[in-house]
């Protein structure tokens, strides 16, 4: 992949893949113009990409009318992060039918999780946070696909959340009344049909006639209270069809048909870029200055934080340090670590957890003292994700922990 060089390009171009390989960077003219205007205003050339990421994130959080523009810029910004995450993860699990392009697209479509989850106050790097989020989104996607692929339809129906099923049915284009009936049918199915053995539940076969009748019976009595229009009584045969349609929709939802990469680009159709651009300039004037102000303290904070964490790592006992290194540096799985250290996976999990807990506690205390932010469970949620990313970077590129070195993942 050709890395993007200048700031304008970084915040206004999108990755184009061809047959699972990097093809080129496609420019989005409106974004380009917006970035040009912004840069013209700062009149400073040495502003880092992370500064702009934080700036757009702040706009995204605070300026409702520029929300989509900011999101577009950040979407452009995280293209590489998502690409490397997809490449790394897809390569590791080539067994199933998940291409790089596929993983990339599924992950980038969930940009909102990155935007919502990132907390700029914590002093961490936006791109690192995006990488961590994309990595875990793709991992989770692959895990789910792996599992769904070996489930029978009947097993799959037992192993899906109501939210996921509803979304699958919506995405399959069903009417809301039909969806309500299907969900009720599915809930009756789950009440009456359970695996008859302790494991091997993924091979669950089709219910027998008697079970179908019981499901139909339950559905027909529940429809009066559970459905806004109770409809007519259904026969087991129809329920069979409905449930298979549910299973099909659930599978299709995890393997959406290929659409063009970067397809979900909200705001593009509304012409809002053109309308809002002059305002962008105005708003950014003030926001720039505030953000700049913050950025200088943020740099100090980031180096402090690194010092605090490195010190906390040194305080850990030797065993914990070894575990962390095996995990983050050598990339061993917990099972592999367990084998190497001749202990149970459970023990590895516990010790890793304890080591991370100590670091999180240090970080939370530091954040309370330095940033005066009360460490609520909610805030710690962000801290913990950021810590995880810090650990990964620390163990893979200890040299990259100084504040402002660009955090590109190396092309492999």
């Amino acid at each position: 992949m050709r890395p993007r060089q200048d700031l304008i390009e970084i915040f206004s171009t999108f990755l184009q893949l061809e047959a699972d390989r990097f093809d080129r960077w496609a420019i989005e003219p409106k974004l380009r113009r917006s970035m040009q205007q912004c840069l013209a205003q700062t009149a400073q050339t040495n502003v880092s990409e992370n500064f702009w990421a934080l700036y757009w994130h702040k706009i995204w959080q605070t300026q409702d009318n520029l929300l989509n523009l900011a999101k577009e810029h950040l979407l452009a910004y995280v293209q590489e992060s998502c690409y490397w995450a997809a490449q790394k993860t897809a390569a590791g699990f080539a067994s199933n039918q998940s291409s790089l392009a596929d993983c990339f697209q599924m992950a980038i479509a969930q940009i909102d999780k990155v935007l919502k989850g990132f907390d700029s106050q914590q002093g961490f790097n936006f791109k690192n946070y995006a990488s961590a989020t994309f990595n875990s989104l793709i991992r989770e996607l692959l895990r789910q696909r792996q599992e769904i692929d070996i489930c029978t339809d009947w097993a799959l129906l037992r192993k899906i959340s109501q939210k996921r099923l509803t979304e699958s049915l919506v995405s399959a284009g069903l009417a809301s009344e039909t969806i309500a009936s299907y969900i009720l049918a599915w809930s009756c199915f789950k009440t009456l049909y359970v695996p008859m053995q302790a494991s091997g539940t993924r091979q669950l076969s089709k219910p027998d006639r008697q079970t179908w009748e019981a499901i139909a019976h339950l559905y027909n009595s529940e429809r009066y209270t559970q459905l806004s229009s109770s409809g007519t009584a259904v026969q087991p045969e129809s329920l069979d069809k409905w449930l298979l349609a549910c299973a099909k929709a659930a599978r299709a939802y995890l393997y959406p048909s290929q659409v063009s990469i970067n397809a979900p680009r909200p705001g593009q159709e509304t012409g809002e870029f053109l309308d809002n651009l002059p305002e962008t300039v105005q708003t950014s004037l003030l926001a720039d200055m505030i953000a700049e102000e913050e950025a200088s303290t943020r740099q100090t904070q980031r180096s402090q934080l690194t010092a605090v964490l490195i010190n906390a790592l040194k305080q850990l006992d030797e065993q914990s340090q070894t575990l962390l290194a095996l995990y983050y540096q050598d990339g061993l799985t917990q099972q592999q670590m367990a084998e190497r250290l001749a202990v149970k996976q459970y023990t590895v999990s516990r010790r890793l957890t304890k080591a991370r807990e100590a670091l999180l506690l240090t970080l939370a205390k530091w954040s309370e003292e330095t940033l005066h932010r009360t460490a609520t469970a909610d805030l710690l949620k962000h801290t913990s994700t950021a810590l995880e990313e810090w650990l990964k970077t620390h163990y893979s590129h200890p040299d990259l922990q100084s504040p402002d070195i660009p955090q590109m993942e190396p092309p492999s």
Partner: protein, 383 residues
């Protein structure tokens, strides 16, 4: 086959399920009343038996099932979820077999019944095929209460993106701010008259009522199930177990299995006065239960004063000491109403607290003590 930890978010806790534990959980689940309660009991047992030892090991030795390991299966006949007490903090594990954990649905009972409320709710994915559990994240009672109930299944659904994935965040938050608000206020449970409760117990005790928690109006259900004794009775009845809590039967034929597990033992006592006088008398059988109140051991004793007129004596003693001022022993009718002479209070340190009651045949009593003993669960004793 175990899980491939490379496919999991490293922040989340993933644990192997021990094969022996799986076999045992499956066997135990077969005594539940319906296919879905069997499956529910199975998942909850797998989840509890895997997560609890890990919690004890990684965080808090004192973590115990709440109200007790004996009482929890009684919940699983009726509702999904397992409570754990860690000192004064309560957690509820909500297992799910879903492959995706886009949302977790917390049954309303765990959120809206005052005695069931927990500080934290943990979403736990259970995969019995590959034998692992994963703690997907947690939320607080307060956060759950900011959301609407889904009345179709009476749950509080919460999206995975609103959970905190790292369990460490929970313990760190508790260490730094133990006083932080985790719970929202919920309205008290309105009492249910005895006759109504009996009708409901009879109706819902029939396992052909597939999902009892959704079969009656929500307020009635909440009142019925909030009563520990009725909850246990309903569960037992659906599972075809006989009424277990009869002191008279315990004295005559021995203590039932479940009640033994919940701590009741049968002792033989020589009346103190007779021993002092040197008289040779027969021993008196006494039922006793060990309790822990404010870190001290106590013993609750029940004995028949006069079996023919059904007069019974309840006694509270502290093992090797006196009962400090402020402790109250109280008896209530089955539907939790007070009656004349139903309590004894230690106004100053005393040797023992006791109450003698004369009962109609078949009458039920519930005992309680202030302050509440550890692992207390209301139980109906039938005389």
């Amino acid at each position: 086959m175990t899980f491939n930890s490379a496919l999991f978010d490293p922040i989340q806790v993933c644990l192997d399920i021990e094969p022996a534990l799986q076999t045992q959980a499956w066997q135990q689940s077969q005594s539940f009343a319906t296919p879905s309660s069997q499956w529910n009991a199975y998942l909850n047992q797998l989840c509890l038996d895997t997560v609890l030892p890990w919690l004890q090991d990684a965080y808090e030795r004192q973590a115990t099932p709440a109200p007790s390991a004996t009482a929890l299966p009684g919940f699983w006949e009726l509702v999904n979820g397992s409570a754990i007490a860690v000192n004064r903090t309560r957690l509820v594990l909500i297992p799910t077999e879903a492959i995706d954990v886009d949302e977790i649905r917390v049954p309303q009972e765990w959120v809206d019944i005052p005695d069931w409320i927990a500080d934290y709710y943990l979403a736990v994915q259970v995969n019995p095929d590959d034998r692992w559990v994963r703690i997907n994240g947690f939320t607080t009672h307060w956060q759950l209460k900011q959301r609407p109930v889904d009345w179709s299944d009476r749950t509080y659904p919460i999206n995975e993106s609103d959970l905190t994935a790292d369990l460490n965040a929970l313990w760190v938050a508790r260490q730094l701010h133990p006083e932080a608000t985790t719970r929202a206020r919920v309205p008290a449970v309105s009492p249910l008259p005895l006759a109504q409760a009996q009708t409901l117990l009879q109706r819902l005790g029939d396992p052909s009522v597939l999902v009892p928690r959704l079969a009656i109006p929500v307020e009635q259900w909440r009142s019925l199930i909030a009563h520990g004794g009725w909850r246990q009775r309903l569960s037992d009845q659906r599972r075809g177990l006989p009424e277990q809590q009869s002191p008279l039967q315990w004295l005559q034929a021995g203590i039932s299995n479940l009640s033994q597990q919940s701590g009741w033992t049968r002792l033989e006592f020589q009346p103190g006065l007779a021993v002092a006088r040197g008289e040779a008398t027969e021993t008196t059988p006494v039922l006793a239960k060990e309790l822990t109140i404010a870190n001290h051991s106590y013993e609750l004793r029940i004995s028949a004063v006069d079996r023919t007129s059904n007069i019974w004596r309840f006694e509270l003693q502290q093992s090797g000491g006196t009962i400090p001022a402020g402790i109250i022993l109280r008896l209530l009718t089955e539907d939790l109403q007070p009656f004349a002479g139903n309590e004894d209070t230690a106004n100053a340190p005393v040797e023992q607290l006791y109450i003698e009651v004369s009962l109609a045949p078949g009458e039920g009593l519930v005992w309680e003590i202030e302050p509440t003993p550890d692992h207390y669960d209301q139980e109906i004793l039938r005389f």
